[in-house]
């Protein structure tokens, strides 16, 4: 099966310098924090859908922003932080 775009490893933004830490060091230092941040996002989305059962929010534009940001987290492009900022700040 051909790999879809999101299966590929994201490329760094052209011209971005290598990080001061190598890949393994980045995971050592930040894996657990990212894991916790993902659980926070997941729990917030669960809370949101439970909240919508009590009313409100269904077509709120902030939901579209969150969905667009989540797609960027999982795409094959670099500069994720800048691109997510651009979703939340036009």
């Amino acid at each position: 099966m051909a790999s879809s775009k999101s299966d590929r490893e994201p490329e760094p933004e052209p011209g971005a310098p290598p990080a001061s830490l190598n890949g393994g060091q980045v995971l050592d230092g930040y894996f657990l924090k990212s894991r916790a941040a993902m659980l926070d996002i997941a729990a917030m989305l669960d809370r949101l859908s439970r909240g919508e059962q009590s009313g409100g929010a269904i077509n709120d534009d902030r939901k579209r922003q969150l969905r667009a940001a989540l797609a960027i987290l999982n795409d094959a492009e670099g500069a994720k932080a800048r691109r997510i900022q651009e979703i939340f700040s036009q």
Partner: protein, 281 residues
């Protein structure tokens, strides 16, 4: 607001923590025996158990806080079966001390066969201690593993408890550090469940209150498992604040943060703090 801290390692906290906790309404703490950050010799355990049963109650009392504890060999030091045998032989004597609520925090760390063996021996100790008094088994407090080992470890713990059949009463066992993927199996089997608010590796105040909303407050306790790591006993209070922000009233807060622990621990005759009632006039 009055609270009972159901899981805190005061031996590694300062006296200022006791003072802050007292000012924040903590009336009692329950301190499970745990890992000191390095592996100890069997002789060190006897001193540690004395610290938990003699020294900490005095330190707590000067702030009006009642101190209770749990005795065991923690799972992180259970790999050496020879040492485990020696340490476990010390436990029965300490179980009868006045501030000892039961056996804990036992459990699994890396889910190894030796850890499982030592877990079963602790459960048997709790059963034997009860039989010696002609009553039900001693209360049991269980640590479930961290992170990647949690799901499998929690299942193994439930399987091992099941092996003891009717000798184990789920209402006398609290299984701690449950999270979104383990809370149902613990509650469905009738055990008490503990949720731990601890940075990065465990739950957050928001996620804990989500779980209370979804699974209910019945047989649930919330703790911060504050220890020698980056942690804070007052994370319990942050969680209370989160519940308050979501509209939980004072009676609900007292139930979750005071009365639930009082009900579970109150099954031990030495734990004399009774649930309190909020009456709005």
């Amino acid at each position: 607001m009055f609270l009972i801290d159901p899981h805190v390692h005061m031996v590694s906290r300062t006296t200022t923590d006791y003072e802050n906790m007292a000012m924040a309404g903590v009336v009692a703490v329950s301190e499970p025996a745990f890992w000191a950050g390095f592996d100890r010799s069997p002789a060190a355990f006897s001193d540690y158990y004395r610290q938990l049963t003699e020294f900490e109650p005095t330190r707590a009392a000067s702030f009006g806080i009642r101190h209770f504890c749990w005795i065991c060999l923690n799972p992180k030091e259970a790999e050496d079966l020879g040492k485990a045998r020696e340490v476990l032989s010390l436990i029965p004597d300490f179980l009868s001390r006045p501030n000892v609520l039961g056996v804990g925090e036992i459990g699994l760390h890396k889910n190894t066969p030796h850890e499982m063996e030592v877990f079963r021996r602790h459960v048997q100790l709790a059963i034997d201690a009860g039989a010696a008094r002609g009553g039900p088994h001693a209360l049991i407090l269980i640590h479930t593993p961290h992170l990647a080992d949690k799901l499998k470890g929690t299942r193994l713990i439930l399987d091992m408890l099941r092996e003891f059949g009717a000798a184990i009463d789920p209402a006398r066992v609290l299984i701690d550090h449950v999270e979104e993927h383990t809370i149902s199996m613990v509650k469905d089997a009738g055990y008490w469940a503990g949720m731990t608010i601890y940075p990065t590796t465990k739950a957050t105040p928001e996620r804990a209150i989500d779980m209370i909303e979804v699974y209910g407050a019945e047989q649930m306790c919330i703790n911060a498992a504050a220890d020698w790591g980056i942690s804070d006993p007052l994370w319990i209070h942050r969680t209370m604040l989160e519940a308050q922000r979501r509209g939980q009233n004072r009676a609900a807060l007292i139930r979750l943060f005071h009365n639930n622990p009082a009900s579970f621990f109150g099954q031990h005759p030495g734990f004399s703090i009774r649930p309190i009632e909020v009456v709005e006039k």
